[in-house]
């Protein structure tokens, strides 16, 4: 386990997460990865333990803990299985716009779903609008009694199962990104559909699919904040969500390190354990340096958020560095495992596959650099 500065309660919560990962996630991780489905039994237990309500305010039925505690939980669950953790991370990503801009009713509606383990989805990306999120085409046409949403989103995490969708759509084409608005759409609203669960490279316990809106009628009360605020809400949401996303990446890196250390002591070549080879020692030391540094950045971003200072540059630094670290460290773990590392019977190739998405979603790591430089050079 990495060394956060923690109080006793945080230590015990973290210990509980680790116990959960070791008992419930790791033993079956491979099986669910191959089948590409969520370990529902473990998910139900995680909800009972309270992992889905860590940072929700007490007024909504949550535990009211801080972001620092939330990122520890996310890291530990991702240590067990990054796909599993991502189901929860994506739901809290979707809740974020509501917490930021929603009414009390909207917040409570969202809390009642997510806290009890219901899934939620954040629907921004479209086939021709990923990094360029401002280019979305999904439209929300105002009528007498609300809006009619039409369009199609892609790669939406929790798409097939979500009980509620947060949808970004154009309410005014003439205004560019200022014409984008955000809506809260219950999953059972007529006209909401989804495509097939994508056959992904990694994080396979978590689903992603197209989500299709066909003449979906929603009342005025579905609007989050004001018309035209959608893009701003989306960008602010992603700033915050990056902290949790980065924490999940650190969890993968830590698992890769722990497995590498263990294997290096066991595997013998030329009559001695490979752990005695400086080449391997330095690799392990470098894995550790990067991972501890990533964890420290996550911590920094989380503490700033807890102090009410969301710093989009630091959030982007944490996400980019933790994502890049997870990919490098997991790839190095495969290297340390040699040929066995490339075989599915061993656990490290999965880490490499799981890690890659952390350079892509929640804004690619190129986009993070655009954000960082933009902040520095404005």
């Amino acid at each position: 386990m990495g060394d956060y500065v923690m109080n006793d309660m945080q230590k015990r919560i973290r210990q509980l997460c680790r116990e959960f990962s070791l008992n419930e996630l790791i033993p079956t991780s491979k099986e669910y990865d191959i089948e590409g489905r969520l370990n529902e039994d473990a998910y139900r237990k995680a909800v009972e333990i309270g992992f889905t309500k860590i940072a929700w305010g007490k007024e909504y039925g949550g535990l009211g803990l801080d972001t620092v505690t939330q990122v520890m939980v996310t890291e530990e669950l991702s240590y067990g299985d990054a796909g599993f953790a991502n189901v929860m991370v994506a739901s809290s990503l979707a809740a974020r716009p509501v917490l930021m801009a929603g009414t009390e009713e909207q917040k409570q509606f969202m809390a009642d779903i997510v806290i009890h383990g219901g899934k939620a989805a954040f629907c921004l990306t479209e086939a021709n609008a990923g990094s360029d999120a401002g280019a979305i085409r999904t439209s929300a046409k105002k009528t007498e009694d609300g809006y009619i949403i039409n369009g199609s989103k892609c790669f939406i995490t929790n798409g097939p199962e979500a009980e509620v969708y947060i949808v970004f759509a154009m309410t005014d084409n003439s205004k560019g990104v200022k014409g984008i608005s955000a809506f809260l759409v219950p999953g059972d609203t007529p006209g909401v559909g989804h495509g097939a669960h994508e056959d992904k490279v990694g994080i396979r316990q978590s689903s992603a699919s197209d989500v299709i809106f066909q003449d979906v009628k929603v009342p005025f009360s579905a609007l989050l904040g004001k018309e035209g605020e959608g893009f701003k809400i989306a960008m602010k949401t992603l700033d915050i969500a990056r902290i949790d996303c980065a924490a999940a990446a650190v969890g993968i890196a830590q698992r890769a390190i722990d497995l590498s250390v263990k294997y290096a002591k066991e595997r013998k070549t030329f009559g001695k354990p490979i752990a005695k080879l400086q080449a391997i020692q330095f690799m392990i030391a470098d894995m550790e340096i990067q991972t501890e540094a990533a964890r420290a950045l996550v911590r920094q971003a989380a503490e700033l958020k807890d102090m009410g200072q969301i710093n989009s540059k630091i959030c982007a630094c944490a996400k980019a560095f933790a994502g890049d670290t997870a990919v490098r460290v997991a790839t190095d773990a495969v290297q340390i495992y040699g040929g066995y590392g490339y075989i599915r019977d061993y656990p490290v190739e999965k880490l490499m596959r799981d890690a890659k998405i952390f350079q892509i979603f929640d804004g690619t790591n190129q986009i993070q650099r655009v954000v960082i430089a933009g902040n520095m050079l404005k």
Partner: protein, 263 residues
């Protein structure tokens, strides 16, 4: 209904270090956990509480050093209502006889109860004596090795595991049961439980508080003297004499014993 669960804090590993002078366990610096069988005992109590939450109180009790509070906090995080720590220098070095004297006095001090659970055995001391001794000292019926249990009105129907089978026993409450891991799967702590347990008020009682006779507790009062501690050689597998009539079986047994010059 009031349920008392005897819980013991044990070292996390099986690598037990022993003080060569006193022959007692060195516990300093070894991470401690709730004894695994005791987690089953606590789960059994909590399961009863789940079925009648408003009328059931679960109390965890331990005898141990001040650090045992941490384990008691974990019991509360799992769902115990309250926890009591018996802690006093006078209790230090107690063997099973002395330990059960202290625990029995502590339980008397709690007052009324309907059911007492203990784990079958502690992974460090490993004697499986403390539970039965408490029952004797409190003059309670006891069933050991409980692998399933059903609550009726004032009686329990339990399955008691045997080496190759089980017996079904009806036992009147109040009584003491010792539990084995086959009984259930202990629940996880909840995050809310951990938060609550941080501020939980854990009672700490000393020897005077429980009114125990100090000549019956502690190292000096312990009749057990550890002569030598060692790792035993593994025993070979036993031979099970099966088939034939009882008479034939006895004959087989007798000739085997004769062959080994036992008789």
């Amino acid at each position: 209904m009031r349920i008392i669960v005897c819980v013991k804090q044990v070292p996390d590993t099986n690598e037990i270090k022993i003080n060569p002078e006193t022959g007692t366990l060195i516990r300093d610096g070894v991470p401690s956990i709730l004894n695994p069988d005791d987690a089953n005992a606590l789960e059994a109590a909590l399961a009863i509480k789940d079925s009648c939450p408003d009328t059931t109180t679960v109390t965890a009790i331990t005898m141990g050093p001040p650090q045992a509070k941490e384990m008691l906090k974990d019991c509360i995080a799992m769902g115990a209502d309250e926890a009591i720590l018996l802690s006093d220098r006078a209790l230090g070095g107690s063997d099973t006889w002395a330990t059960s004297n202290a625990l029995a006095s502590g339980i008397k001090q709690i007052g009324s109860y309907d059911l007492i659970f203990a784990g079958r055995q502690a992974i460090d001391g490993d004697t499986a004596q403390v539970g039965p001794q408490i029952a004797e000292k409190l003059n309670l019926p006891q069933v050991t090795y409980v692998r399933s249990l059903k609550l009726n009105d004032d009686c329990l129907t339990v399955e008691r595991a045997l080496e190759n089978g089980y017996e079904i026993i009806d036992v009147k409450m109040p009584c003491l049961l010792t539990t084995i891991k086959e009984l259930n799967t202990p629940r996880y702590k909840t995050v809310q439980g951990i938060m609550d347990s941080e501020s939980a008020d854990i009672s700490v009682w000393n020897a005077d508080d429980i009114g125990v006779d100090k000549h019956t507790v502690g190292l000096k009062a312990s009749p057990t003297n550890v002569f030598k501690s060692f790792t035993p050689k593994p025993k070979g597998a036993g031979v099970y004499v099966s088939g034939g009539s009882p008479k034939e079986k006895v004959q087989i047994l007798l000739s085997a014993l004769e062959e080994k010059h036992v008789i």
